[in-house]
């Protein structure tokens, strides 16, 4: 048997260039899975959260139950959440997406509702005076004005989802979490560190991206402050 080469892989170093170059495809696949899991779940959360928040705003009595249910969902631990959904979805990516979507729901509903509630009554009355119906009032006035608060919630939900997705490794769909989990069992330092750093980088990049989007879609918040 040929002697093992004396490189950073065999020495099991934390930072290893050879790991990066030889496992590029594995890392790329994990990053793609991570992005898919988080973006899908946050989008799903958003699709459910907007109507819930609008309903809670329209009918005051609905706000209490909606907030209570989403808050209880948030207290369920991620590991437990995935396991509670297990009978419904089995060991699948849908399980992780559903779990993460339920988590983002709390933050999103709270923030969108706070944004809608902060729309000044005079603004709503002015729009009504201009002949805006309820639907147009909602779409053209209330929702745009709630955007800054909603975007703040979206940023928190996205960053949390990126970090919580790693726990999906328990069912084999954790994106970079899979690499961390496997690296833990095989004591593979370079893999654990690389995957962890990539995870943080994705979270920071997503946060900055959403911040950029927020500035683009709410130009009035900048001129108002200047």
């Amino acid at each position: 048997m040929a002697p093992l080469p004396d490189d950073c892989l065999t020495r099991n170093e934390w930072i290893c260039g050879i790991y990066l170059s030889t496992r590029r495809q594995i890392l790329l696949d994990a990053v793609v899975q991570h992005l898919q899991l988080t973006s899908l779940s946050v989008l799903l959360g958003l699709v459910v959260a907007v109507p819930l928040a609008v309903l809670a705003r329209r009918w005051g009595w609905a706000a209490g139950p909606v907030l209570a249910v989403t808050t209880i969902l948030y207290t369920i631990p991620s590991l437990a959440m995935y396991s509670l959904l297990l009978p419904l979805y089995g060991l699948s990516a849908a399980l992780v997406v559903a779990g993460l979507a339920l988590y983002s729901l709390t933050v999103l509903v709270r923030n969108i509702l706070a944004g809608l509630r902060a729309v000044p009554e005079e603004t709503r009355q002015a729009a009504r005076g201009l002949g805006y119906g309820p639907v147009r009032l909602l779409l053209a006035v209330e929702l745009p004005l709630a955007l800054p608060a909603a975007m703040a919630g979206l940023r928190i939900a996205t960053v949390s989802a990126v970090s919580l997705a790693t726990v999906g490794a328990i069912v084999g769909y954790g994106g970079l979490g899979n690499l961390i989990y496997a690296g833990m069992n095989s004591y593979f330092k370079a893999q654990v560190l690389t995957a962890s750093v990539l995870c943080v980088l994705i979270a920071v990049a997503a946060d900055l991206l959403l911040l950029g989007v927020q500035r683009l879609v709410t130009p009035w918040t900048r001129t108002a402050r200047a």
């Binding site: 437990a80 509670l84 995870c199």
Partner: protein, 224 residues
């Protein structure tokens, strides 16, 4: 529905309660782990937050730290620590990872609480000749207490929930029931474990809620 019934049967089976892997032992481990981590993170975060809030410095640090903390997966921190010399110490990695996880929200809430104290009140106290120390302990801290305690409550509930990931790294606590269930492919056991953790998180939330109701009006943020 049969899964839920099976989970309930697993949970109420007296054979699953005693012993090293029993529910009772895991529950105690979980509570102890959470309590130790909560105490440690409070001991670390609160003095810093109170001093920074009193001096009115480091606000950007306190708030940004909390946001940055969310981006770092606790699971990754746990595994990273496990592979370092800290990993040789039994529950070391778990405790360090959980403390790192709980410090940012505690720090931010306490800092914000201190800064939200009415500046007029602070100036009046100063005008009455209070020293910095008196101001901190007799004016700012009591007024900041509701927000500060809310931070402790959030941290406590999140710690109960997050402590489950210790099991992924071979640590103790209720997470072990879940991971053992996964390894045995026993869905009822997994669901039973998840139920236990969720119930514990809600119980902690309820304890804080109760303490808040029983506390003097000042600590609730109400006007005495």
């Amino acid at each position: 529905m049969s899964t839920l019934a099976a989970a309930w049967d697993w949970l109420t089976d007296p054979a699953h309660w005693p012993g090293e892997d029993g529910i009772r032992h895991r529950l105690l481990q979980h509570l102890l782990l959470t309590a130790v981590c909560l105490l440690l993170s409070c001991a670390l975060a609160l003095p810093v937050a109170l001093v920074l809030g009193h001096l009115g410095k480091g606000g950007a640090l306190a708030v940004n730290l909390s946001n940055a903390g969310r981006a770092v997966p606790t699971f990754a921190v746990l595994v990273l620590l496990l592979l370092t010399p800290v990993g040789r110490w039994d529950d070391g990695p778990t405790v360090v990872a959980l403390v790192l996880f709980a410090v940012p929200p505690l720090l931010t809430n306490a800092y914000v609480g201190m800064r939200e104290v009415d500046r007029g009140v602070v100036q009046a106290a100063r005008g009455m000749g209070m020293t910095g120390r008196q101001l901190l302990f007799h004016v700012e801290l009591p007024l900041a207490l509701p927000l500060l305690l809310n931070g402790v409550r959030i941290a406590a509930v999140q710690l109960v929930a997050t402590a489950t990931i210790a099991a992924l790294a071979g640590g103790g606590g209720l997470g072990r029931i879940i991971t053992a269930g996964f390894n045995l492919a026993s869905t009822p056991q997994v669901v039973a474990g998840a139920f236990l953790v969720a119930a514990l998180a809600l119980a902690v939330e309820a304890v804080f809620e109760l303490a808040e109701r029983l506390a003097p009006a000042r600590a609730r943020g109400g006007r005495p």
